[in-house]
């Protein structure tokens, strides 16, 4: 049927040098960039040379000898995959001699390969089969006795793919994919010649090895040797639809390969500009949650959260929702209700939720979970540069000479970008790797991984980011490492001097702050010099920067450093927030914050407000609304009574669980729209079933500001896309919306948002993606921002004073807890926990340094209690030197652990982004789950009950 794989040109594109060469292939003249292989040249000009060991995701290796060609004037038969084109070359790809040679090669392969093609899972999608056909193989003269490979046991340990060594042709494509594309170096070839075999590291099973299950090897494998379990189960796909991953802010695009309505596999799209044909375990494999049995498909309501849920029709649920919000507003006032948009939903859905609130509720009480992750990025970059977004595209990392990673763990949290970063950190084609500076309390994987070692790792004490960055600025200013020309033209020189005077004070020197940060002054100075003078220097940061009481200041301190050293406004440099969830950027862009409309324009701006008022036919509130923590405060105080939550689980993801629970419990109507009965739904009165990204059209915007299409590949199991549900609620409130397709919502966004003026579905279809701003000034979008000038005009240096957090260690709570996440799970884990990804991370663990463990008599795997002034939980200990003495670390993927029971209510001074990354705690031995955990489990069980409907007579 209509299914084919993407064309494989055999070898990757040549490095761009700008020079072309012209040659003749089979009588046709072709002109191509120098450095292109003959194989790629033939493929690009419409031909195809038989091949087995070459594939265009990895460098060629030249081992199978199937791709031989004849080149006039050259002796022998060079391999076309390893021979570059040359000026005037005359190549023949198909001659009698070549045919003979290729058949010979093929015969050898087939003599050591099982001939069970008809029942093989890769039947119809196997390159060995295809190539046997292509070379016209009809007979195998050697017989099948020489076989050394056949009959070996399969390795089925990985939950998503099988390894069958009997079918392996030892082409090493998997090994190269793991090394070059993924950068994990988990596979090796053991033995020599005919006896060589592929093995996972240390001859372990795949699951026990270093393999991170990214699937690059499976995608590269030409046979059924490495194959998706789902393909084994279902058969090969018959159609493919390009869509975007719904997990993280990298925004990988995939071909969703389908058979009918069934998803067979996700294959990363080579044309995807964010991921360039790669993906991680989540996007490629962990989509089983979409069909999970716990998914709720019928709307449900209940009068109080102590009652079981009652399934109702969509009509009833929608009417009830609308009447509850109206009732509450009549009784408690216009400001007593609000809503939360989701960074998991599409731009269009997010836009509609904030529209529902501003137009329908008549207030600005809308916020988004970006509040708890990247709101300081919004504030900090808007203040310094003039717009709330990262400055580069991902490709930019290829031009970086120095990479500074602060408070981010890309190999776990942004794996595909992590792999791309690692490609740049390793030497390649004679070019030295970029130098790496890591600033993080923990020794993250990047610090030392195969063929990569950080030049500097500065393991600072949690909570001292601003002091450390200011000390780096001190070095830049006092050693005159700044870029005066850049500052004079692009920033305000007087402002720079005020800032330079401030950072130059002796009290801000690396030596002076050493006792505070715990980072050796000499290391800090060396790192600062490298950043300032090492060529193109790019900063990548994550939640370890933003989730602090000085998150916004830290973002501004980063921006200051980049401006002072002229590292802004071209490829290879910049300030890059690594966004957490898939559409955090989009949720922020779409006007999810209570103080601003889409495109980051304050609600008090009368001219902007008028454009929305004209479009929506209502008067809009000119006062900022409540942020999530403020809503919860107002709820506990009795003035806030109703909340519409789309696709967020604030009870699990927000700090200080007790406070969130108290706030939710105080409300009269909590509406949760989600796939599953999440933790927040324990406090909800209305549950509206959500749809997955596979079930609707829309767009996501990734961390590079790249707007990409999400395409419906199957009908929504719950009946409606989330945007349709919001529209039903809006219409039940009398708003008279009539969108028939998300493209119309995007047209409205474009009409009302200057930076999105050029964003329409037909353009996205044509371009594949667009990076905003995309408008008349930048019709093709904007890969690099602030090229000729900052969005705000002149870049602004902001004095960032270090203010220690109020969260302090003391005798009761002597350790500092910091939190993070791991590769195989995602955020609160609602989706990933419902997939086979649990094979890698069945529980949250507490990382603790051996010294601290020993002092407390804690051994590996012991149950320990973790206490802060906000609460207590228990989990098992993992003893490791990744964390420094005095620091402990955990993830927050599992509701049983509820790490946020521990986190407190301190937050960023400018944005109220919670201080997840610093909590004073005590750790001690424990017997098992705390009382709270048991109470919670019981409460959750109670509130998840669904009334069973009597079967109809």
């Amino acid at each position: 049927m209509g299914f084919t794989r993407e064309t494989d040109h055999g070898t990757p594109p040549a490095l761009v040098t700008g020079r072309n060469v012209t040659l003749t292939i089979d009588g046709e003249q072709v002109t191509l960039p120098e450095g292109t292989s003959i194989m790629r040249a033939a493929s690009l000009s419409g031909g195809s040379i038989p091949k087995l060991c070459a594939t265009d995701n990895v460098e060629s290796f030249g081992s199978c000898r199937l791709c031989l060609v004849e080149v006039e004037g050259r002796a022998g038969y060079p391999a076309s995959c390893t021979t570059p084109v040359a000026e005037g070359m005359v190549v023949r790809t198909q001659t009698e001699r070549l045919k003979q040679l290729r058949r010979g090669v093929m015969e050898l392969y087939i003599s050591d390969h099982p001939l069970d093609c008809l029942t093989c899972a890769a039947n119809g999608d196997c390159e060995l089969q295809d190539q046997a056909g292509a070379v016209g193989l009809r007979d195998v003269r050697y017989g099948y006795d020489g076989a050394t490979n056949m009959g070996q046991p399969k390795d089925q340990s990985n939950p998503y793919f099988d390894f069958d060594p009997s079918k392996c042709i030892v082409c090493s494509r998997c090994v190269r994919a793991c090394d070059e594309v993924q950068g994990t170096f988990a596979l090796t070839i053991e033995g020599m010649g005919f006896n060589s075999k592929i093995a996972a590291s240390q001859n372990d099973s795949f699951l026990a090895s270093d393999c991170v299950s990214c699937g690059a090897c499976v995608q590269a494998c030409p046979t059924a040797s490495l194959i998706e379990k789902k393909v084994v189960e279902t058969g090969t796909p018959d159609r493919a639809v390009v869509t975007t991953c719904a997990y993280c802010g990298v925004g990988c695009t995939f071909r969703a390969e389908m058979r009918g309505q069934e998803l067979v596999r996700m294959v990363p799209w080579k044309d995807g500009k964010a991921n360039r044909g790669h993906s991680c375990v989540k996007g490629r494999f962990a989509w089983g949650y979409a069909q999970h049995q716990e998914r709720i498909l019928s709307p449900m309501i209940r009068a109080s959260v102590s009652e079981p849920w009652r399934e109702v029709s969509w009509d009833e649920a929608i009417a009830h929702t609308a009447s509850e919000f109206r009732r509450i507003q009549d009784k408690y006032g216009r400001l007593a209700v609000g809503g939360i948009t989701s960074s998991r939903c599409t731009n269009e859905e997010t836009f509609l939720v904030q529209k529902l609130i501003r137009q329908g509720f008549g207030n600005n009480n809308v916020d988004t979970c970006a509040r708890v992750c990247h709101s300081p990025t919004g504030y900090g970059l808007k203040t310094t540069f003039g717009t709330s977004a990262g400055t580069q595209d991902f490709d930019s990392v290829e031009q970086a000479d120095v990479i500074l990673v602060i408070g981010a763990n890309p190999t776990d949290a942004h794996p595909v970008f992590g792999s791309r970063m690692k490609q740049r950190l390793r030497p390649k084609n004679g070019k030295a790797g970029a130098k790496l500076i890591v600033i993080d309390p923990r020794r993250i994987d990047l610090v030392k991984s195969p063929h990569i070692a950080a030049e500097h790792h500065l393991p600072l004490r949690p909570g001292t980011n601003v002091a450390l960055l200011t000390a780096m600025a001190h070095v830049v200013a006092t050693e005159k490492l700044y870029d005066e020309a850049f500052i004079r033209t692009r920033c305000d020189w007087d402002e720079f001097q005020d800032w330079a005077d401030f950072v130059s004070e002796a009290s801000r020197s690396p030596e002076a702050i050493e006792p505070l940060t715990g980072v050796r002054a000499a290391d800090l100075r060396a790192a600062a010099r490298l950043y300032a003078t090492g060529g193109n220097a790019a900063i990548y940061y994550g939640l370890g920067v933003t989730e602090h009481s000085q998150g916004s200041s830290t973002v501004m301190a980063i921006a200051n450093l980049a401006m002072a050293t002229g590292n802004i406004g071209r490829e290879g440099v910049g300030v890059n927030p690594l966004r957490g969830q898939n559409n955090v950027q989009g949720a922020c862009d779409m006007g999810s914050f209570p103080h601003e409309f889409s495109g980051y324009r304050h609600v008090s701006d009368a001219a902007v407000r008028e454009t929305f008022e004209a479009a929506w036919g209502v008067t809009l509130d000119s006062e900022p609304g409540l942020r999530i923590p403020n809503m919860l405060d107002a709820a506990t105080d009795g003035s806030f009574k109703g909340l519409f939550i789309q696709g967020e689980d604030i009870l699990q993801s927000d700090p200080n669980t007790h406070h969130v629970a108290a706030g939710l419990a105080a409300m009269e109507c909590v509406v949760v729209q989600d796939l599953f009965l999440n933790e927040t739904a324990n406090y909800a009165h209305v549950f509206l079933p959500g749809s997955t990204f596979l079930e609707k059209d829309g767009t996501f915007t990734n961390a590079e500001r790249r707007i990409q299409m999400v395409r419906k590949v199957m009908a929504p199991l719950n009946g409606y896309g989330d945007w349709e549900v919001v529209q039903l609620v809006a219409n039940a409130m009398g708003l008279g919306w009539n969108y028939t397709h998300p493209s119309q919502i995007m047209d409205e966004i474009a009409a009302l948002t200057p930076t999105f003026a050029g964003v329409h579905y037909d353009r996205l279809e044509a371009e594949g993606s667009l990076q905003w701003p995309a408008n008349d000034a930048a019709p093709d979008g904007t890969p690099t921002m602030h090229i000729d000038g900052f969005v705000r005009g002149k870049g602004k240096f902001v004095v960032t004073d270090y203010v220690p957090t109020d969260e302090k260690t003391g005798p009761r709570f002597p350790l500092l807890l910091t939190t993070g996440r791991i590769l195989s799970h995602y955020n609160v884990g609602a989706q990933t926990r419902r997939t086979a990804n649990t094979a890698w991370h069945p529980e949250d663990r507490l990382e603790i340094h051996p010294l601290d463990a020993e002092n407390r008599g804690i051994k590996e795997g012991d149950w320990v209690s973790l206490k802060s002034r906000a609460g207590e939980t228990t989990l098992r200990a993992l003893i490791t030197e990744r964390v420094a003495p005095g620091v402990v670390y955990t993830t927050f993927h599992h509701p049983d652990t509820q790490a946020n029971v521990i986190t407190t209510d301190y937050s960023d001074w400018a944005t109220n982004c919670p201080e997840y990354k610093v909590t004073a705690v005590q750790v001690g031995l424990s017997n098992g789950p705390s009382d709270w955990q048991e109470d919670y489990a019981e409460q959750a069980r109670q509130s998840r009950r669904i009334m069973t409907v009597e079967a109809a007579e």
Partner: protein
């Protein structure tokens, strides 16, 4: 359920005071006059009207709870 720990968590009123002081403290390095102006601006831009009313009242009810910069900023908000 949450009972055992409530005493350690701020009340809404305490939190508002804490937040105002925190903003003022982070802007202190700008010099007093600018810090007052910037603190007032910040609160006007990001706090909803009820929170602003509340902090104005708290400034009256709890003399000395706000730092001098925060107090001056709240005075401006009250005057407007």
């Amino acid at each position: 359920m949450a009972g055992a720990h409530d005493s350690d968590v701020m009340s809404t009123a305490d939190r508002l005071v804490h937040m105002a002081n925190q903003i003022a403290r982070n802007l202190e390095a700008e010099g007093d006059a600018r810090a007052v102006e910037m603190t007032a601006d910040h609160i006007r831009q990001f706090w909803d009207p009820l929170m602003r009313q509340r902090i104005v009242q708290l400034a009256l009810d709890r003399p000395g709870a706000l730092s001098p910069i925060a107090a001056a900023a709240i005075e401006r908000i009250a005057a407007a």
